[in-house]
Subunit: 366 residues, 2 copies
């Protein structure tokens, strides 16, 4: 995506061969655009934990870039391979819900972990990180291409702007580039399909009103921020043609873990016969397990909010001071409320057989 | 309700016979407890419009108190009755969704409007306001008594604390005293039923995390603030035993207008077979019409939020600066998702015949 005329990805190496990578500090967006250098694997863990980077595909990529740093660090330890394993565990545990994180780390270890030669390992780790990022971008582009006809079909019937509701941020900033839920939107906009996006603010961290709105503004796509309470009313009143969201972990059973509140929008879409799509790159599909770990984050994210006051970014108390709060970060949408998954290999019903038709290599027994 | 040991209603005359009444400035709660004097009917209009007072029953009462002031003002005009009519219209138009407002104003005009003698009119207007407030308190108490068995039944089956989810503020602060949705909760707590209340923060104005949490804190009722996105997940996980909300306008068809987001919680309750109750005093039931006007408020209420920073109450920007927002204040929950209405005359299904069995004098044709 372009920011002030310059193309950025959300994570990148610079031209040197140094053991450092760069990210955009998403906790400061849209108020400040700050690039942060990450030069140790512990910093990579912190960047994921603090949500300097967030979004299932991007934290998967950040873990890989972090492991490349861990490889470089490992040779100052007696047991380099033990150190790599330890850092890999720290990365996996940085956030529990997105499957991308554990999958990317395990993939790295299985592909790279056995290389004995130090230089060769360093080189391969860097190459693997670059390749992982490229594949992630390619997956997003394909999700865009596979989701595009869904938007175009509505436009062809309606002959008027297509109103799409999205929750949280599953855009450029949640991935290496393009986004998942926003990828079809970006492609439709490029093709001249008139669009209007309803942006759920997505409390408590407001990734919608801060990040999605920032992206759509930069792409000149008409959009309107709404409180998370509003989508149901809009759907009842014919103001939403479709919903597209991302996912942190989708099961073969079709259950979708995504940002807290997704389930409520899926219920409302179902109640009003509005299609509800989940943009799910295969990196976000859990082909192995059916259990979820739903992250519980600090209550202070609910009791307080970060905002801009004058030129400062500050935290203000928006609750009764003595009252406690609870902060689950994700919820689970049952498959029956999901119209289709949009994957890099095409769209499918949220059912084991249909998902495995697109990804036959993931079938157990093959 | 008691604040720092002193009992307060939300609206009252003082001991003098002066044309002034008092309210609590709810825009400053819970951070500051300020009593505001209202000495002109235009100030009463502003207090309703600015949400210095809010909640369907309380704005109904405020309109009556405001009309008492308008009566006092009217004799400095050539056409006192014309002035009263004009102020009555202003009050009705101050906020469009709650039926209490128009009903209370029309009731006042039909009961008081024809009195010709100036002193007698002033006296009657004040008496009417006092009586309206008393009746409103009595209605809330009875809603509490009628809702109490619903909570006790759950406790008797469960033998553990009853988890109740509520949206917005339908408590003491939304009424003259006791509340609607919170009245059964207060009575159950007084009777020693162990309770825990899930408080939806209720964006954009956070009446839940600010006002409901403030009330429950002062009554020492265990509660936890959650983002509006969270209730569905809690319901899926057996963490909610019942939902009780208020209403701004309930139709004979059983459709319920209430704070935006109520519909989403009703859908989730239905999906998880959790009873969903609407506490509806007859003043909030529209026995005449089936149409709704859904108030659209300033987009700035979504883009910004009021919070406490140090000792100051300030507004901070919590959205991408250049992005627009839309702010509907209410939504409509279809009757099929409402388990029962809790009225001052008992509980009933949200159906014309059942409602009219409780309020037979409202049947057309009688």
């Amino acid at each position: 995506m372009k920011i002030n005329g310059k193309h950025y990805r959300t994570i990148w190496f610079d031209d040197t061969e140094e053991a450092v990578f760069h990210i955009i500090d998403q906790t400061k967006l849209p108020f400040e655009f700050c690039i942060q250098d990450v030069s140790t694997s512990d910093e990579a863990v912190r960047a994921i934990k603090n949500m300097t980077v967030r979004g299932a595909p991007l934290i998967g990529a950040t873990a890989i870039f972090g492991l490349y740093l861990a490889v470089n660090e490992s040779y100052s330890f007696k047991n380099p391979s033990g150190y790599l394993q330890k850092q890999a565990q720290k990365l996996i545990q940085a956030r529990p819900t997105a499957v991308d994180l554990e999958k990317s780390v395990r993939l790295f270890l299985s592909r790279i972990g056995d290389i004995k030669n130090q230089d060769s390992l360093k080189h391969s780790a860097r190459q693997f990180a670059l390749q992982y990022a490229e594949q992630s971008v390619e997956q997003c582009l394909k999700i865009g291409q596979n989701g595009l006809p869904l938007i175009k079909n509505i436009f062809e019937k309606k002959k008027k702007e297509v109103n799409i509701l999205t929750h949280c941020n599953a855009g450029w900033l949640a991935t290496v580039d393009y986004g998942t839920a926003l990828a079809p939107i970006y492609l439709a906009h490029q093709e001249g399909v008139p669009l209007h996006i309803w942006v759920d603010e997505t409390r408590p961290r407001n990734q919608g009103s801060l990040l999605t709105a920032f992206e759509l503004s930069h792409e000149n796509i008409p959009h309107t921020i709404i409180s998370d309470n509003t989508g149901g009313y809009l759907m009842q009143n014919g103001m939403v043609d479709m919903v597209i969201v991302g996912t942190d972990r989708t099961k073969l059973s079709g259950k979708v873990a995504n940002k807290i509140g997704t389930y409520l929008k899926a219920l409302a879409a179902y109640d009003n016969q509005i299609p509800f799509y989940v943009a799910a790159p295969s990196t976000s599909i859990d082909f192995e397990n059916e259990d979820f770990i739903i992250e519980k984050r600090s209550a202070e994210e609910v009791r307080k909010i970060k905002g801009k006051y004058g030129n400062k970014i500050i935290n203000v108390l928006i609750s009764n001071e003595s009252s406690p709060a609870l902060n689950y970060a994700f919820d689970i949408t049952p498959a029956r409320y999901v119209t289709q998954l949009i994957t890099e290999r095409g769209c499918c019903l949220p059912e084991r057989e249909e998902i495995l038709k697109l990804f036959p290599e993931k079938s157990h027994g093959f």
